[in-house]
Amino acid sequence: MSNAFSLTAPILISALCLYGLFRGVDIYAALCRGAAKGLEVIRDMLPALICLFPALWLFRETVLASLLTELLSPVFDSMGIPPETGLIMLLRPLSGSAALSEASSLIAQYGADSLIGRTAAVMIGSSETSFYVIAVYFSAAGVKNSRWAVPAALAADMACFLSSAWVCRIMWG
């Protein structure tokens, strides 16, 4: 079932190209313009990552990191979550770049096709930087009282991490 998705990108791209041709869109120009926008995304991301990667690496060198994992691992184990991904769950609602840095270092360390690497990827792929989204929307709307948005968003995040771990365990465990 998972193998069907290895063709996702080529099929999607060719289907879009056909559709674009049909609609009379200048496909090549659109692709290039988009790729240039992608470079801007990278450019905006890099400075934050250069600051965050060293901080995270430093943190992982400390005893605190191993202490945290050790302390929390019985809890995570009983919930079926790999304890290594604990830091992602802490960082994800607060900072997207920090969580992505942590996930990528786990993927580098354990391998992209390992259970830990996959769980980290699914966690990142299926959640959002909740506090950032909440801050942007409420401040843009000029509403000061966010009411129940924070608890509801955090409940959704928790559910997302739990189900990421379980789904990965079922599919690849």
């Binding site: 998972s2 879009l16 400390t62 942007v136 959704a156």
Partner: protein, 179 residues
């Protein structure tokens, strides 16, 4: 903050500070590694937008959205901003999703107390990532040698769906509890 904290902890435990430079090096390598994937995908997304696929999806979403947001959907402008926001989210067009979502949020805020629950609902919908194609993390996976970078897609859908369902359920419960 994490920096100061970790430095103190490291100094106390006597580890190696070289991790700082290795980390910075990794950051640049990481960005170069995923740049190709990100740019290609961003090109594809531009194509999606140009083809008018985002607009078509937005039209499809109007019906279910008007059920979730009964007060706001009476205002045609809010409804169209809403459907643009959700369809851009689905397609992973982050740059298009936020402005549309903000327009919808401002419209809801203007409706006053009738729509304050719906504003929260909009925010919760946006915090539960509902993306059809997890392109960024797939780029990361392929740069670290995944056999098939997109094979996590189904897992991401399931877990996004569960988180969305929990978010909506929490919204329905909390809405009643809140004064």
């Amino acid at each position: 903050m994490l920096f100061i904290f970790s430095t103190l902890a490291l100094a106390a435990s006597g580890g190696s500070g070289d991790a700082v430079f290795r980390g910075a090096e990794q950051a640049v390598e990481f960005c170069i590694g995923i740049a190709g994937g990100i740019c290609l995908w961003s090109g594809v997304m531009e194509l999606t937008e140009q083809c008018g696929l985002a607009r078509a999806l937005g039209r499809l979403l109007k019906k279910p959205l008007s059920r979730l947001f009964p007060a706001s959907c009476r205002d045609e402008q809010i409804l169209s901003a809403l459907s643009q926001n959700i369809s851009a989210n689905l397609l992973g067009l982050g740059n298009a999703a936020t402005p549309a979502g903000i327009r919808a949020a401002q419209g809801m805020a203007a409706l006053g107390s009738r729509a304050q629950d719906e504003l929260c609902m909009l925010v919760v919908l946006n915090t539960a990532s509902i993306q059809l194609i997890p392109s960024t993390i797939a780029a990361v996976r392929s740069s670290y040698g995944a056999a098939s970078a997109f094979d996590i897609t189904a897992a991401v859908w399931i877990s996004s769906f569960i988180s969305l369902a929990v978010g909506l359920a929490a919204a329905h419960i909390l809405k009643r509890l809140w004064p």
